[in-house]
Amino acid sequence: MNSSSGDKEKGLTRRAFIKNTVGIAAGLTSLPALAQAKPENILSPDRMGVLVDTTVCIGCRNCEWGCKTSHGLPTPPLETYEDASVFEKMRRPDDKALTVVNSYPNPKDPKAPYTVKVQCMHCDHPACVSACIVGALSKEESGSVIWDTGKCIGCRYCIVACPFQIPAFEYYQALQPEIRKCDFCSGRRKDGKLPACVESCPAEALTYGPREELVRIARNRVKRYPQRYVNYVYGEYEVGGTSWLYLAGRDFADLQFPKLGKNPAPGVSESIQHGIFAYFVPPVALYGLLGLLMWVSKNNSDEGGPK
């Protein structure tokens, strides 16, 4: 390399270096305001919920029918729902059924099996909302965790994140595949109607109301009929609490409820994420440190010559 032009080059580089580094640091520190843009998660004290009493449920699956009709999903006629053979296999909600009912043996009374309705639990601190890359999922003030088709890119990270394995994806759609899950009838409820499943339940196994009140009702039932229920309200504390709550006549693990801790599912991941990006200080500091290192090592090799 030509030595005189090389020196000139380096001189310019060093001056530009300082100027630009400062500029970048300033630019980056103005970003946090934008980065805090987050999907909504309003935890209203009046948020609604549903108490599912699995000891009252008769397994008629009218809730499945009501859900499908109100969500515009292909719905077989109501009579076909009497067929109990579907209970032979455990089913999960999917893109064509946002809620399903499964049956489990009742050790106290073999003729009256426990039937358990499964759908999105509508967590108070939903993992899917925290995980979603574009904030397509959000928790509404009413308690619903809803999905926005306008934002979703179909990455399925919500499915990875959900501790209840609820969101379902339309794997066979080439264009505009959707994430489908129970929306707690967000639209119907805004119109003052009951959730479709609650409305179609003939046995009053589903109680719709403010979550705080439902917790009280659930605890009362357990207290009044201790032989009927296990002393536990599932969903009261699971992953930080869910809008849907369950009562059961046998251990929840036997009814295939996942055993989960009391901490919100996104907790650890969010604290790591916010630690690394605390107001962009760590990245900017790293940038500065590397810049300094580069400057020092460049000077060393310029002045001391190659080793």
Partner: protein, 413 residues
């Protein structure tokens, strides 16, 4: 003064087509056929993915392993440019090219895996600061552009003074040449910004890639589920940087019939030892702190894969890199580098796929022929583009005969 002072990046004077290249072309074509089915009939038509297993090899290999194995770019940039160790400049460009192509294919891998590939730009508009995936997405998007900028000087170097435009456009030759020179001057003054940015962006998203699976909580096998996943991912990415450079330099040298630059590669191997050692220490330390070694007493897929990942991917290569003699032996060095690369890929596949056990599953996940075909096809296309670019552009350093008549290295064939 060692001979590498006379090494100069030079376009490789070799034909593009060889029997091996034809095989790669066929595999690439096969992958594209399955890709077409995916685009026209949906993800379910070619993959074994379902609501229990939403992510498969396209995420585990194409994306997670792809990002890790492209780490050679930022690790060598840190060594060669930030720490200004000029003797390693010969490997910076090949590593940069690998990273540039690697990340391009990571982006393509993400694009075909997401259901609405045409909305790949959404994360730039709709932000979610609490999402680890958002962080990875933004960082990778910026970084892939930084890599293109870092590669631009190679392009200007190739064409300055050699602009050749056909027919009517030949009148513009002078103008294009002047533009290229202006670009080159501007880039040489500002390049350090991009180099440092590249290193920062890499540390950020390499670690966030580990944060990705933390939110899966109890769905992940405890051997891999740990709050220090981001640190483990960063440490393993740093430690696979040099082995990846060694691995691909040796493959390229063999494919093009070039003499190996063992004096550089051996040193890279020796430098890998402490990096790999730190990773191993953290991995084992994490296992003891969380007492997860109890899971190793049961014989199942998870325990076997965990042991294999550590033994094949970390312990054995570490032993080779630690030996002064072994790193001077090309076959041993190659084995060590290849095992490290395999080990990190295994770790990513284990973390994203093997460790993932949904609470309700109706079977386990194994990639379909279509998924494997697309993944293999993408890797082949990447290799083919790499080959084309090192033939066209000055990427691989060769002895410069005009500067050094006594150069020790010659091109065979």
């Amino acid at each position: 003064m060692s001979a590498d002072h006379y090494m100069k990046p030079t376009p490789i004077d070799k034909p593009f087509l060889t029997p091996g290249v034809t095989v790669l072309l066929l595999l690439a074509l096969n992958g594209l056929v399955f890709l077409a089915i995916r685009l026209f009939s949906g993800i379910g038509a070619v993959t074994n993915l379902n609501n229990q297993y939403p992510w498969g090899v396209w995420i585990g290999i194409d994306v997670a392993s792809g990002v890790a194995l492209a780490a050679g770019g930022f690790v060598t940039a840190a060594l060669g440019h930030v720490m200004n160790r000029e003797e390693y400049h010969a490997v910076v460009r090949p590593a940069l090219l690998t990273a540039m192509l690697g990340y391009t294919f990571v982006a393509l891998g993400v694009m075909i895996d997401i259901g609405r590939w045409y909305y790949i730009w959404h994360p730039l508009v709709f932000w979610n600061g609490s999402s680890a995936l958002f962080e990875v997405g933004i960082c990778v998007t910026i970084y892939v552009n930084v890599l293109y900028i870092e590669f631009l000087p190679v392009v200007t170097e190739r064409f300055i003074g050699r602009v050749n435009l056909p027919g009517l456009l030949s009148g513009l030759k002078g103008l294009v040449d002047r533009l290229l020179r202006a670009l080159e001057r501007g880039l040489s003054k500002t390049m350090f910004i991009f180099i440092i940015a590249g290193v920062v962006l890499s540390t950020l998203h390499q670690s966030s890639l580990g944060t990705l699976m933390v939110i899966a909580g109890p769905k992940m096998h405890p051997l891999w589920q740990t709050p220090v996943l981001p640190l483990l991912f960063l440490l393993s990415a740093i430690s696979v940087g040099f082995p990846m450079v060694i691995f691909e330099s040796m493959l390229a040298a063999r494919s093009f019939g070039l003499k190996l630059e063992m004096h550089i590669l051996s040193k890279l191997g020796t430098m890998t030892a402490p990096l790999l050692g730190i990773y191993l220490a953290f991995k084992i330390g994490d296992m003891f702190i969380r007492k997860t070694f109890v899971y190793l007493t049961v014989l199942n897929t998870a325990s076997v894969m965990f042991i294999l990942e550590l033994l094949i991917g970390v312990v054995i290569p570490l032993r080779i890199f630690l030996s002064r003699e072994a790193v001077k032996s090309p076959p041993l060095l190659f084995v060590a580098a290849a095992l490290t690369v395999l080990g990190v890929a295994m770790n990513r596949v284990n973390t994203f796929l093997v460790a993932y056990t949904p609470p309700y599953s109706f079977g386990s996940y194994f990639p379909s022929i279509g998924e494997i075909s697309v993944t293999v096809g993408f890797i082949c296309i990447l290799v083919l583009i790499y080959r084309a670019l090192v033939i066209i552009f000055p990427v691989i350093s060769l002895p410069d005969r005009s500067l050094s008549p006594r150069a020790r290295y010659t091109i065979r064939g």
